[in-house]
Symmetry: C2
Subunit: 435 residues, 2 copies
């Protein structure tokens, strides 16, 4: 029987732990025989000393196996997409129906938002009646029929991750490439994915601000994902400006639905990322031999309306009422934020915008907070646009209209002006590997 | 209001914490607003990143002030002695009455034994009726009349230390110079000491095996002790062989009493250390201008019988019954361990002896274990002695005589023989500074 303090001492002194030692710790954390203090000491030592990729694979597998593991193999290859989180990142709402419409199986399990970034489950739950908790039988039948389910991580999935995630938040041990990787990949293993497309975001609106940190995380995700038996494609993408025009919950769902309905009117940033990510999913699933072929197939199902149709089938299958939702959010209070000056939009302090949205009720400060599904912002400008003084810059939506003044001031301060047009940026896909 | 996770993140990244941040953590740990997980993360980060001496001073003061602090200033300068722990280390039983007999005030507050080293409180409590918990009025009156009290750390003293000590044990974060120093010095500050003589033990029977580690701890103890306002003398001393002939509880009390009664028959290792440590106490207390003068004064009160008399006055004042104790332990079961061969005693695996004594009931594996005051070993040989096969090597004492065979085998294996006499060692005081 290993002695917990001896294992902690070993990690403390910079030695790598064996798979058995990591398994013993994770089992004990879930069983309660390893205390939260011991778990926290492990997290801090792992943060400071780092976790090697073989240790991270062991941690990932132990966390994945700590609860229910789904298995969809009889339905064919299962592929999913995960993002490290951004502001206005509604890409899952597009790529899942596109990949499914092109023939892939997408058992997408997502989280709720925390901090300045939103969560796919919060966005979906803004649709009246939409359930993110499906019975196994329902999930299996829907995945077979539509090729896509979009559900929340239940309490039975990777309980070790839930305990460790909350301890990391409490103990200042969130920023660890190994711990972030194990948290992401363990849930995808438990979800029953065979292939995974990862969107590692970098920039002012992302957790990772520096390219070298994002690249290190991307490499660890590839190494550990493969070590855990997954096929993996990773894209490192620009998260300096909010994606598209909308950020919040219902406002993002609406923007995604409009983009699926009218691809020609889709904002170019959303279009570029959606095609890349769904194309990579199709390639991993064996439905395209190259990434370019995957992108072409994704564009085809998008432009012909099949993806839009699949999106609405998915909503209906999970109990969502689209018309009722449009009705519900028609009379939400709004506030129009006007430009204080003439000038070009030079950029956005995107993290500030994400935090302002939390103030508005669109996100959570703590995991136990509830969200206002109506709360959000729709910008009327993008980087590089010319704005006249007094012209509408953005419209805020929220049930709690008493917060408009405060939040509008924060968002106004986050929009940067210049007298010259800013230097245009290149594409949003900064690096991608795995295809 | 500081955010705990932000403070932990700062320490995690190798930055020094401010006194205010450390105070906030310690206050929160005692109040329960900082969780044990957060405390454990702080301990692990401190272990790996190290604590600077200014951080350790802040931690020491915050821990000292977390509970009751004694103040004996109206009685004059208070001086104490502390050892980092060894096997057969009964020096406190000698130096406290010697220093008091020479005119010092010694408010000695000690701990119970844990692991392979014994504790002064356990030894004292082997004396029938002896109380290590005195009322404030009793303690003050006795300290005024006899110049010495020997008490246990109560629950009201440095509660932060008790919480952190137990978490360190649990989380593999015991071996940190900063944390060890803060634990030692905080209790001496709370005890009301003005001067402190420290015996940092190094060698096979000590926590520190390497001279460089012992020296680093000694330096930190001096820096932090002084930073916390104490006068400090540190001696780094050899702890390769058990001190004297006896190790256990009552057997050590008896050996100390005999040494005080008959200084000419005192084992030379006990004599050397006792004179140095009590001499240094007298120097710190201003009762001698040099260490040599302190040693001479200590020798004088020892040889004239005054220290022996003070020892018996102390026992009587704290409720101890000396004759009753001698009576009580007269019929304890014994086991004589005989030499398996002819040869010189080359040395002792002293840590193994300490652990064997725990098996015999003399010590504790966990803080909640109870001890057998009768349990112990009296060796009949020292390093360098010649032993004939079949000659008695040691006598074991214990109420639980069924453990004799097992423990005797362990102790036999810990005595090393050679055909040649071992190279004699120099003095036990390897280094000393502060005088």
């Amino acid at each position: 029987m290993p002695i917990p303090a001896e294992i902690l001492r070993k990690k403390r002194d910079g030695h790598a732990l064996t798979s058995e030692e990591i398994q013993f710790l994770v089992d004990g954390i879930v069983a309660g025989t390893i205390s939260h203090a011991q778990a926290a000491a492990f997290l801090m030592a792992s943060c400071i000393r780092g976790l090697r990729s073989d240790e991270t694979v062991a941690l990932t597998m132990a966390m994945a196996r700590s609860g229910v593991c789904y298995d969809w193999r009889e339905l064919g290859y299962a592929v999913d997409k995960h993002s490290t989180g951004g502001v206005g990142d509604k890409l899952s709402l597009l790529v899942a129906p596109i990949a499914a419409a092109a023939g892939a199986r997408v058992p997408m399990m997502s989280g709720r938002g925390l901090g300045h970034t939103g969560g796919t489950v919060d966005k979906l739950e803004s649709i009246v009646g939409f359930s993110t908790a499906l019975s196994n039988a329902h999930a299996r039948a829907q995945l077979e029929r539509l090729g896509v389910i979009m559900i929340a991580q239940s309490a039975e999935v990777a309980p070790a991750d839930r305990i460790l995630y909350s301890l990391r938040d409490e103990t200042g041990t969130v920023e660890s490439v190994g711990l972030i990787t194990a948290s992401i990949i363990s849930k995808k293993i438990a979800e029953g994915a065979n292939g995974l497309v990862l969107d590692v975001k970098v920039g002012r609106g992302a957790f990772m601000q520096q390219m070298e940190d994002a690249r290190a995380l991307a490499q660890m995700l590839v190494d550990v994902g493969r070590g855990a038996g997954l096929d993996v494609h990773v894209a490192v993408t620009d998260m300096n400006d909010p994606l598209g025009y909308a950020a919040g919950n219902w406002v993002e769902v609406l923007e995604a639905e409009r983009a699926l309905a009218e691809p020609s009117a889709c904002p170019s940033d959303i279009e570029e990322l959606t095609l890349h990510l769904s194309g990579a999913m199709l390639q991993l699933a064996g439905l395209a031999t190259t990434l370019d072929e995957g992108i072409a197939r994704a564009r085809a199902v998008w432009h012909c309306g099949a993806a839009w149709e699949r999106f609405h089938q998915l909503i209906a299958a999970q109990g969502g009422d689209w018309d009722g939702s449009r009705e519900r959010y028609q009379h939400v209070p709004t506030f129009v934020l006007r430009s204080p000056q003439n000038g070009y939009i030079a950029g956005f302090a995107t993290r500030t915008i994400g935090l302002a949205l939390v103030e508005l009720g669109a996100g959570r400060r703590r995991a136990t907070d509830s969200v206002d599904p109506a709360a959000g912002v729709v910008f009327h400008c993008k980087r590089g646009d010319w704005c006249e003084r007094g012209e509408p810059l953005a419209t805020l939506y929220a049930c709690a209209s008493d917060r408009f003044d405060f939040v509008a001031e924060q968002i106004r301060s986050a929009i940067e002006f210049s007298s010259e047009p800013p230097v245009p940026r290149g594409g949003l896909i900064l690096e991608s590997f795995g295809s």
